[in-house]
């Protein structure tokens, strides 16, 4: 009796799956756009910001009647998928969005370690992909031909710029002669920016006295931090994500390390302050925009986001909003809902005024030229400190 129950249950589920997967809904004039975000996994706050901004951007357009393409009004059908904080799931999700949901473009993933594999899929499937937040230089470069990719773009600056910004800040503003770095060797973003920082800092005459690594998921850094303390640096660079940095700084303080800490744009989430509390007070990091010195365009976005979600938008939300802005611009210019046309139109955008500043795209490259800002954590808030121009 039980056996027949189990077998019939399984059979039912299998049939259901075939049916569900087969049906595709199509109603009116809609454009499917896919979002690949880190909704679960190790950095869910990043995915949440991305999702919120995406929903907001699409809602604005749909409430205004839809996007005007070639004379017709299209509503945007937003498909949000979770890459679960896993690189292989990021790839399968991208494949699903492209092959099954037939999206015209994919926005995301945000973290470089999930964006790089997904980019390879987008490039080989010839579908436009815009990563809002991935700063690793490798994202837009084809690993086999070493040429820039044709279908992968981003809305943020690259780490080749950001690493230099932080190194120059450490040397010139903080007056550091010796620096130490603790980074995640298993993650593209952390490793990439650590390498650029080291190269720049040394070329400016400084000395990198500690260059320690750990693997994603480690919680105990006492061994590496004790080694760094031994080498006596003036400043410690932690280009790591918001869930790891509070632990690292806390353990460093417990070991008696008192020098300032520097970070990169991966610090930009409010979760960092929630998890770090007093420990992160006074430290600096580089990022994409500062909510407190916003331009009129940015102020409008900040107000709308705060009304809709009750919190100040972080850089991921702002960049996602800009990614959608770029995509809508490209769709309008293309005049038709076609993957190749959209891509060509995107490549043709030379200048875009976004929430995160002026984006300038050069011919043949998916990387915009933008400025960075340095923020400081003061009284539990991100406060603007300086701007760094390319």
């Amino acid at each position: 009796m039980r056996k027949t129950l189990v077998i019939s249950l399984v059979a039912m589920l299998t049939i259901m799956s075939m049916v569900l997967v087969g049906c595709k809904s199509s109603a009116g004039l809609t454009i499917p756009i896919g979002v690949n975000a880190e909704l679960t996994g190790d950095i869910p706050a990043v995915g949440a910001s991305c999702k919120n901004a995406a929903l907001m951007a699409v809602k604005e357009i749909n409430d205004a009647g839809g996007l005007d393409i070639g004379g017709k009004k299209y509503t945007i059908n937003l498909l949000i998928e979770d890459d679960g904080g896993k690189a292989d799931q990021s790839v399968s999700v991208t494949q699903k969005l492209i092959s099954q949901d037939n999206v015209v473009a994919v926005i995301g993933p945000n973290a470089s370690r999930y964006a790089l594999p997904a980019a390879a899929i987008a490039e080989s499937s010839k579908v436009l992909m815009i990563s809002p937040w991935s700063t690793n230089a490798q994202l837009t470069i084809d690993p086999k031909t070493r040429q820039p990719m044709k279908y992968v773009f981003r809305a943020c600056f690259t780490d080749s710029f950001q690493g230099q910004v932080v190194a120059k800040f450490a040397m010139n503003t903080l007056g550091a002669k010796k620096a130490a770095v603790l980074y995640d060797v298993a993650s593209d973003y952390n490793k990439g920016i650590a390498d650029v920082f080291k190269a720049t800092f040394e070329s400016l005459g400084g000395q990198v006295v500690g260059f320690e690594t750990y693997t994603t998921g480690d919680k105990d850094f006492s061994g590496q931090l004790t080694k760094i303390k031994q080498s006596n640096p003036d400043v410690i660079f932690l280009p790591n994500y918001y869930n790891e940095v509070p632990l690292q700084i806390q353990q460093a303080h417990r070991l008696g390390i008192t020098v300032p800490f520097l970070g990169s744009d991966s610090w930009g989430s409010q979760e960092l302050i929630k998890l770090g509390g007093k420990e992160v007070e006074g430290d600096y990091f580089s990022t994409h925009y500062a909510p407190d010195i916003a331009t009129p365009v940015a102020k409008k976005f900040v107000a709308a986001y705060t009304t809709a979600y009750g919190s100040v938008p972080d850089d991921i939300a702002a960049l996602t909003y800009d990614s959608f802005g770029l995509l809508f611009e490209a769709l309008k210019t293309a005049g038709k809902v076609d993957r190749q046309a959209v891509r060509d139109a995107m490549a043709g955008i030379a200048h875009y005024e976004g929430v995160t500043g002026n984006l300038q795209f050069k011919e043949g490259s998916g990387d915009p030229i933008k400025s960075a800002v340095i923020l400081q954590i003061k009284n539990g808030k991100f406060v603007y400190f300086a701007t760094a121009n390319p």
């Binding site: 997967v21 790839v91 594999p117 080989s124 298993a186 993650s187 593209d188």
Partner: protein
């Protein structure tokens, strides 16, 4: 006599549908022509589906994943099911196969002839994985059970760590941009090949040796079973196919990194083996299919998917501890001699019982 006859007729009428289906199933199961027919159908479908897009591309990818999982499950079944060991390192062999084949096809083989060299690359991945398995097989001579589990676990971590430290092959970031060479015909071919080889291995003398090691290692050694050789072979065959599956996986996903082949992946394969049934090839096929399909079907549930799956697994283990198929095997896979032997043995038993009763 008349009365009893009427009674049995009534009984079979009352259970009508169930008995009818059972009879039909008996007829199908006993018909040994079914297997070649199914293979032909599968062969035609594997070319037809991608060509005419009978199902959408996403479902095609799922079908290919099912094929790869079948290879993984059946190969792990040799060591965990038939031999009764506890190996958690299967993902490590998969990783070796994936990396070796990807590197060969990306850098060593001539780029223009890539389609011809793909099967060669896959087999090369399997061979290297089999060679690496010798490292695990040697400690298995002295240790058993839980200690072997540790050794295979340590092996998994070592492979992961070695791959992460060699930056020439991508290090922790892995290899991006692998060509999509895995197509349905290839998956079908390798799945059938692996099932055929493993089935023949199990029903051969070596296979008997494997089963005897599970039941009682010391006794089998006394019965002149060369346990060392058998263990070597079992590990080698198992990891060869794990390597093959890894190579197919790499060329389907188009991306591999050390993080993909971690303990969670090994656990997944382990669950598939125990779900379907230890010591049964049909069980492995069943387990792999059900697990893969269920995970995809339950995707709309979001986070509750991974809460429901383990719960279902626990319930299954409580009510059928040996998996769905248990130790039973589909009759198509069992060689005719074995079936005939069992029939003869049963007949003898009935005669003996009748004799001792009278």
């Amino acid at each position: 006599m008349k009365i009893t006859k009427v009674k049995t007729e009534e009984k079979s009428n009352a259970r009508g549908v169930a008995w009818y289906l059972r009879d039909r199933w008996e007829a199908i199961a006993n018909n040994r022509l079914m297997l070649p027919i199914l293979l032909m159908v599968g062969f035609v479908l594997s070319f037809g589906i991608p060509q005419f897009n009978l199902v959408n591309p996403y479902v095609q990818i799922i079908i290919m994943y099912i094929g790869i999982n079948i290879i993984l499950t059946t190969s792990l079944n040799i060591v965990n099911g038939y031999m009764g060991e506890f190996s958690i390192g299967h993902a490590g062999f998969m990783a070796v196969g994936a990396y070796v084949s990807s590197l060969l096809i990306l850098y060593v083989f001539p780029r223009s002839l890539v389609f011809l060299f793909f099967p060669l690359g896959v087999i090369a991945g399997g061979v290297v994985a089999a060679l690496v398995s010798l490292i695990v097989a040697i400690p298995s001579f002295k240790t058993r059970g839980d200690y072997l589990a540790i050794i295979t676990l340590a092996f998994l971590f070592i492979v992961k760590s070695v791959l992460e430290n060699i930056s020439a092959i991508g290090g922790p970031r892995g290899i991006v941009g692998i060509d999509k060479l895995t197509t349905m015909p290839w998956v079908f071919f390798f799945t059938v090949l692996s099932l055929w080889v493993i089935r023949n291995f199990i029903h051969s003398n070596y296979g008997r040796g494997v089963l005897s090691i599970r039941e009682d290692e010391v006794a089998s050694r006394l019965m002149s079973v060369n346990t060392r050789q058998v263990k070597f072979l079992a590990f080698a065959v198992s990891s060869f196919f794990a390597g093959v599956a890894g190579a197919l996986f790499a060329h389907l996903l188009q991306f591999i990194s050390p993080r993909v082949f971690d303990v969670l992946k090994s656990t997944d394969i382990l669950i598939m083996v125990y779900l379907g049934g230890i010591g049964s090839i049909a069980g492995s096929i069943l387990g792999a299919t059900i697990y893969t399909v269920l995970l995809e079907v339950l995707r709309p549930l979001g986070m509750f998917r991974m809460v429901l799956m383990p719960l279902l697994l626990v319930f299954l283990m409580l009510y059928r501890p040996r998996g769905i198929m248990g130790l039973r095997e589909l009759r198509w896979f069992v060689p005719i001699q074995d079936l005939k032997f069992v029939k003869r043995w049963r007949r003898k038993k009935v005669v003996n019982d009748a004799n001792s009763a009278s």
